[in-house]
């Protein structure tokens, strides 16, 4: 078990603040370090990277020591890819020069990704001859991602890579990020304070507060708590994972297993055609779901799912949050008013129909 984990044990007093972490998590998928600014996320990431040399710290990666009381493996030997909030491209090199900087310094036997594949994955074909200062923020960040990937890292550390970008650019980059986590097979640690990024990208969430780790759990668990910090921005939401079919003539795709199938209207932009998506992720806001006791047929909402109410939580302002399970066991949160719950006489254990007004394909 400890072989395939990242283990960190540090205690760093910094004035009135102490980072005190003793934890480990598996080296698969995307692990989000989630917390407010100043909670110690970045310091923790820098310690993992080897940019911060702290006394009495211990870091080990997949069984190999990176830092103990006796030794400290310098960052250039750790083979970690770093992407910061600012793209931090080397201004005296071209885009190609930046992309190949780490690639050239990676021994041939350790190279797992080739420039062509990465350039294709991140859509960098038309940028290669540009000078760094000619790139837009989003383009520069894509180059920075490609540069990190081409050093064939064992671990990719992303420190709020989208925070400095405007909403539009964020939307452009997000699919690249999720494709990267899916296709590159490199474990990722993502620092973020954006619930949306966690819901779209993370497989596992590390909740940090005032220098300590509150909780580590997988995304499903993190989103099943009605008071989850991930609901701070847009209210309660559910993330469903499942296979996505090819689009039919009207651009409608089927999502999920047969007993719990949803229909998703997609555009060609949302799903890249060159990498057929097998398993994907849908996000459903709890307030976009209504409840019916029977399956209504004469209604414009196409997505009707049979769910079982597991728990009913109180929310402020006379609202209720229903925690329900789908036929395939996934959790769906539904937000309704107390008044309508009384009208329908909803009880835990009851089987009802969830009418889903809109879903967002997030991966």
């Amino acid at each position: 078990m400890s072989n395939e984990t990242l283990r960190i044990k540090v205690r760093v007093p910094r004035g009135d603040f102490t980072l005190d972490v003793d934890t480990q998590w598996p080296l698969t998928g995307v692990t989000a370090l989630f917390g407010r600014s100043g909670c110690g996320k970045t310091t923790l990431l820098r310690i993992i990277a080897g940019l911060e040399k702290v006394n009495a710290g211990r870091v080990s990666f997949a069984g190999a020591d990176w830092q103990t009381a006796e030794m400290f493996l310098p960052i250039e030997k750790r083979r970690v890819g770093l992407v910061f909030q600012e793209a931090s491209l080397l201004p005296h090199l071209s885009v190609t020069g930046n992309l190949l900087y780490g690639f050239k310094r990676t021994p041939e036997v350790l190279r797992r990704l080739q420039p062509d594949a990465v350039i294709n994955m991140l859509g960098l074909e038309n940028l290669l001859d540009r000078r760094v200062e000619q790139l837009s923020g989003g383009q520069a960040q894509r180059v920075a991602l490609g540069r990190a990937l081409l050093s064939s890292p064992q671990l990719l550390l992303l420190d709020e890579p989208l925070a400095a970008l405007d909403t539009q650019t964020k939307r452009e980059i997000m699919p690249f990020l999720s494709r990267l986590s899916r296709d590159s097979n490199v474990p990722i640690v993502l620092i973020t304070h954006s619930p949306e990024e966690v819901q779209r990208l993370a497989d596992r969430v590390v909740f940090m507060r005032d220098g300590v780790i509150d909780d580590i759990c997988d995304l499903q668990q993190a989103m099943s708590r009605p008071d989850s910090p991930l609901f701070a921005d847009e209210g309660p939401a559910s993330v469903l994972t499942g296979p996505l079919s090819e689009a039919d003539a009207q651009g409608v795709r089927r999502f999920g297993v047969e007993q719990a199938q949803l229909f998703v209207q997609t555009t060609s932009i949302a799903v890249s055609s060159d990498s057929p998506v097998t398993v994907t992720r849908l996000r459903v806001l709890a307030r976009d779901v209504s409840v019916a006791l029977d399956d209504p047929s004469r209604i414009s909402i196409r997505n009707h799912l049979r769910v079982v109410i597991r728990e009913i939580h109180e929310l402020p302002d006379n609202r209720l949050l229903l925690s329900t399970t789908l036929a395939d066991g996934q959790c769906l949160l539904i937000e309704i008013t107390r008044w309508s719950a009384q009208q329908l006489n909803l009880q835990t254990g009851q089987e009802v129909w969830a009418l889903i007004k809109s879903v967002a394909l997030v991966q």
């Binding site: 310098p74 250039e76 770093l82 900087y101 310094r105 990676t106 050093s151």
Partner: protein, 228 residues
Amino acid sequence: MMDLGPADWQAIYLTLKLCFFTTVILLIIATPLAWWLSSGRSRWRVAVQAIVALPLVLPPTVLGFYLLMALGPRGFVGSSLESMGFNHLAFSFEGILFASVLYSMPFAVQPLLEAFNNLGRRPIEVSASLGAGVIDRFFSVTLPLCKGGFIVAATLSFAHTVGEFGVILMLGGSIPGETKVLSVLIYDHAEAMNYQAAHQLSLMLLVFSFLVLFVVYSMSRRFYTVKL
């Protein structure tokens, strides 16, 4: 008017030699020193910075006097050298070279420090994460990105050493071919009432100094030494 005698040429050659070696040695010493000053969190940082800047405020005679004491036959350094079978350093080229390195140190350290501070840690962190070791990082990132700082540091070190007088007179005296550099020769010419010769060399230095400063100012609109 330019009829330079063999003594003048000897002094010019000696001055250029002194300046060249001073600049090379300074770049080798000042680069790691400035790097340490810009990135270190040591509490010795401020003290070291003050020591480096000392030659800016000390009368050159003070520096020269203590160097004479230390490097001369009875000084700590001089006597140790003699006991090892070397010569002491007073009144020698090596002695004034040592003095020049100390004397021009702030002019090499300050532009580099400024350049390193402007560079920040990020480019180095990035290149390290991409697998570049310390030496590799210096040549592939620091040097190209701080080129201006290095050029200004080298130019100022060179020019400031040309203008060195008091320290050399105290420590080196006026030995032709060994310690008699241009500034000392000009002094000797003036002492001997040989104003025509003194004027020739002085004008040369004036024009040279102006050109150096002109180059430095036009290279970077922010003149690094302003912050000294």
